[in-house]
C-alpha cells in the first residue's frame, strides 16, 4: 500500500511535469518562432516544408526595417518612448497626489469625491474615443504628443491603488512631523512618498505597458506620418501587402524588447504588481 501510493505520487509528478513543460513550450514557442523568422529570408518564412531555423541567416532585415523610406521607425520608437514616459509620469503624479489626499485627509466630501473618481474605472476607453477625439480636436491637441499623453495618463485604478497604499502609512508619523513644524507638502514629499515605493513601482510597470501597447488612440489622434507611435506604425506597415515578412517580424521583435527587458530585469515586481493591480484595464 505504502509503496504503491508512493509510485502513484511519482506517476502524478511525472505527468504533471510533462504537461506543464509542454504547455510552457506552447506559450513561448510563437515568440521563439518570431525571433527566428525575423532572421530568415523572405522566401523561407512561410515555405513548405517548414523551416524552424533560418537556412541562411539574414541580419539585413533589422537594418532594412530601420531604414525604410516611407516608415521612419527610429522616429516611431522615439515617439512611443516620449508618450510612454510622460503618460506614466502624469499617471503617477495624479494617482499619488490624489491617493494621498484621499487617504490622509478627512475633508468634507472625501467619500463622495472618491466614489466619483473610482466610478470612472467603469468607463471603458473604447466607449469614449469619439467624444474624446472631438474634445482633443477642439483643444487643438490633435496630432500632438499632448493629445496622446493626457488621455493615456489617466487611470482611476492608480488612484485606488495609491490610496490603499497610503492607508498603511501610520498617521502618527505624519502627526509627529507636523509637531516638528514640517509643512504638508514637505511631509508628503519627504516622509509619505518614500514609503510608497513598491506601489509606485508596480503602477509604473503596468501603466507603461498599457501605454506602450495602445493602438486605438494613436490611430485616431495622429494624422501625419512623423507623429505615429510604434504599434500604429507596425499595424500600417504590416497591412501593406508587399512588405517583406522578415522586416515585419524584425520590427515586431523590436516593439517587444522594451517591455520584455523590463520583465526580465524586474520579473519579481511584475508578479507583485499583478497581485497589487488586480483590476487594471
Amino acid at each position: 500500500m505504502g509503496i504503491s501510493n508512493r509510485a502513484k505520487i511519482r506517476m502524478i509528478k511525472i505527468a504533471l511535469y510533462i504537461t506543464l513543460i509542454v504547455i510552457g513550450l506552447v506559450f513561448i514557442f510563437p515568440f521563439i518562432w518570431m525571433v527566428l523568422s525575423s532572421f530568415k529570408l523572405n522566401k523561407d518564412v512561410l515555405s513548405i516544408p517548414i523551416k524552424i531555423f533560418p537556412p541562411t541567416w539574414n541580419f539585413k532585415s533589422y537594418y532594412d526595417a530601420f531604414h525604410y523610406s516611407d516608415y521612419d521607425f527610429p522616429r516611431y520608437f522615439l515617439n512611443s518612448f516620449i508618450v510612454a514616459i510622460f503618460a506614466v509620469l502624469l499617471c503617477l503624479f495624479l494617482s499619488i497626489t490624489a491617493g494621498y489626499g484621499f487617504a490622509k485627509y478627512k475633508f468634507k466630501g472625501n467619500n463622495l469625491l472618491f466614489t466619483i473618481v473610482l466610478s470612472t474605472i467603469l468607463i471603458p476607453f473604447q466607449a469614449i474615443i469619439v467624444p474624446l477625439f472631438i474634445l482633443v480636436r477642439k483643444l487643438g491637441m490633435q496630432n500632438s504628443y499632448l493629445g496622446l499623453i493626457i488621455p493615456e495618463g489617466l487611470t482611476a485604478f492608480g488612484v485606488f491603488l495609491m490610496r490603499q497604499f497610503f492607508y498603511s502609512v501610520p498617521d502618527e508619523v505624519i502627526e509627529s512631523a507636523r509637531i516638528d513644524g514640517a509643512n504638508e507638502l514637505c511631509i508628503f514629499w519627504k516622509i509619505s512618498l518614500p514609503m510608497a515605493k513598491t506601489a509606485v513601482f508596480a503602477l509604473t510597470i503596468f501603466h507603461a505597458q498599457w501605454v506602450w501597447n495602445l493602438l486605438v488612440w494613436p490611430l485616431i489622434v495622429i494624422s501625419t506620418p512623423e507623429m505615429r507611435t510604434l504599434p500604429q506604425a507596425i499595424a500600417l506597415f504590416s497591412g501593406v501587402y508587399f512588405t517583406p515578412y522578415p522586416e515585419q517580424l524584425a520590427i515586431s521583435v523590436g516593439a517587444c524588447l522594451p517591455t520584455l527587458i523590463l520583465f526580465l530585469v524586474l520579473s519579481k515586481n511584475f508578479v507583485q504588481g499583478i497581485t497589487l493591480t488586480g483590476l487594471k484595464r
Binding site: 504537461t19 523568422s37 490624489a98 469619439v130 493602438l215 515586431s252 521583435v253 520583465f263 497581485t275
Partner: protein, 292 residues
C-alpha cells in the same frame, strides 16, 4: 477648541492634493462620457452641420444587422475567452503551486511571457502562423489531417481570435490565481489532510471557497478586457471575413473614423458602456465581499 479648528484647517490640504485629479478626470473622462450620450442623439459628420435626430440612431442600431452582428461577435468572443482563460489559468496555478513541482519560477515565466509582448506584434506573428503555409496550419494538416482556414473562413476566424486572446492573457490571470493560492494558510490543508481529505476534497472545501475574491476579480477584469478587444481584430482580420470578427470597438472606430458617422458611433459607445455597467454592477452586487 482652537486646536480642533487648526486641525480642521489642516485637513483642507486634502483638496489641494486631489484637485489635479479632479480637474483632469472631469475634463478627459467624465465629460466625454456624458458627451457621448448627447452626441448619440445627433447626426454629424464632424465637418458638416450637426442635426438633432433624437433616438433615431438607436432605432437604426437595433434594426441594423451590422450592429447586432458586432454585438453578438463581441459577446461570443468574450464568453469563450473568459471561460477558457479562467479554466486554464486556474488549473495551471493549482499545478504550479503543488508541492510536487519545483522550478515553478521557470515554468511560470514561460507561460507569463506573452503578457509582456506587444499586442500588435502578437497579432502579426499569429497572422503568419495562421497562413495556409503557416506553422499552425501545417502542424494541423500533418498531425491531425485537418485543413483549417484559420483566418479566411467565417466559421473558424472568431475561434482563431479566441485562441490568440487565451494565449495572450492566461499567464496574467494565472499569476493572479497563484497569488490568491499562496495566501491560503497552509494550516488549513494540514488540518484537512489529517482529517483524511483527498485532493478533490481539499480543492472543493478549502481552495475554491478561499479563492472567491480572486475568482471575482479574474472574472470581472477578464470580461472587461475581452469586451474591449481591438488590436487583434484590427491587425489580423480588420473585422473580416464577412464581418465575422468585427467586434464592437472595431465597429465604433470604423463608423466614426472611416464612415464619419460620429453620432451613430456614439450611440454604439453608449450601448457598449451600458452593457459593461450592468455587468459590473450585478457582479459586484452578487459577490459583494469587500474586494473593491
Amino acid at each position: 477648541m482652537r486646536k480642533a479648528s487648526y486641525y480642521d484647517k489642516l485637513q483642507r490640504w486634502g483638496y489641494v492634493f486631489i484637485l489635479p485629479t479632479l480637474v483632469f478626470f472631469s475634463i478627459f473622462l467624465i465629460f466625454p462620457m456624458l458627451d457621448s450620450f448627447r452626441l448619440s442623439l445627433f447626426k454629424w459628420s464632424l465637418i458638416g452641420p450637426k442635426t438633432f435626430v433624437g433616438f433615431k440612431n438607436f432605432l437604426k442600431l437595433f434594426k441594423g444587422g451590422r450592429f447586432q452582428n458586432s454585438y453578438l461577435v463581441t459577446l461570443h468572443f468574450t464568453f469563450l475567452s473568459v471561460i477558457i482563460i479562467t479554466f486554464i489559468s486556474f488549473w495551471l496555478s493549482v499545478a504550479l503551486t503543488s508541492r510536487l513541482i519545483r522550478f515553478r519560477n521557470v515554468l511560470q515565466s514561460m507561460i507569463f511571457l506573452p503578457v509582456v509582448l506587444s499586442m500588435v506584434a502578437i497579432a502579426i506573428v499569429w497572422q503568419f502562423m495562421f497562413q495556409t503555409t503557416g506553422l499552425l496550419s501545417v502542424i494541423f494538416v500533418n498531425i491531425f489531417g485537418l485543413n483549417i482556414s484559420w483566418l479566411t473562413s467565417t466559421r473558424t476566424a472568431p475561434y482563431s481570435m479566441v485562441i490568440v486572446n487565451v494565449w495572450r492573457y492566461t499567464g496574467y490571470y494565472m499569476v493572479m490565481f497563484i497569488a490568491g493560492l499562496l495566501d491560503i494558510p497552509q494550516a488549513y490543508y494540514e488540518a484537512a489532510r489529517i482529517d483524511g481529505a483527498g485532493f478533490w476534497g481539499r480543492l472543493i472545501y478549502i481552495t475554491i471557497p478561499s479563492l472567491k475574491n480572486t475568482l471575482v476579480l479574474v472574472f470581472v477584469s477578464c470580461v472587461i478586457f475581452s469586451f474591449g478587444t481591438f488590436a487583434l481584430q484590427f491587425v489580423m482580420t480588420e473585422g473580416g471575413p464577412s464581418r465575422s470578427t468585427e467586434v464592437l470597438s472595431l465597429l465604433i472606430y470604423k463608423e466614426a473614423f472611416q464612415y464619419t458617422k460620429f453620432g451613430y458611433s456614439a450611440a454604439i459607445s453608449v450601448i457598449y458602456f451600458i452593457t459593461l455597467l450592468i455587468f459590473s454592477v450585478t457582479q459586484l452586487r452578487i459577490f459583494k465581499s469587500g474586494t473593491i
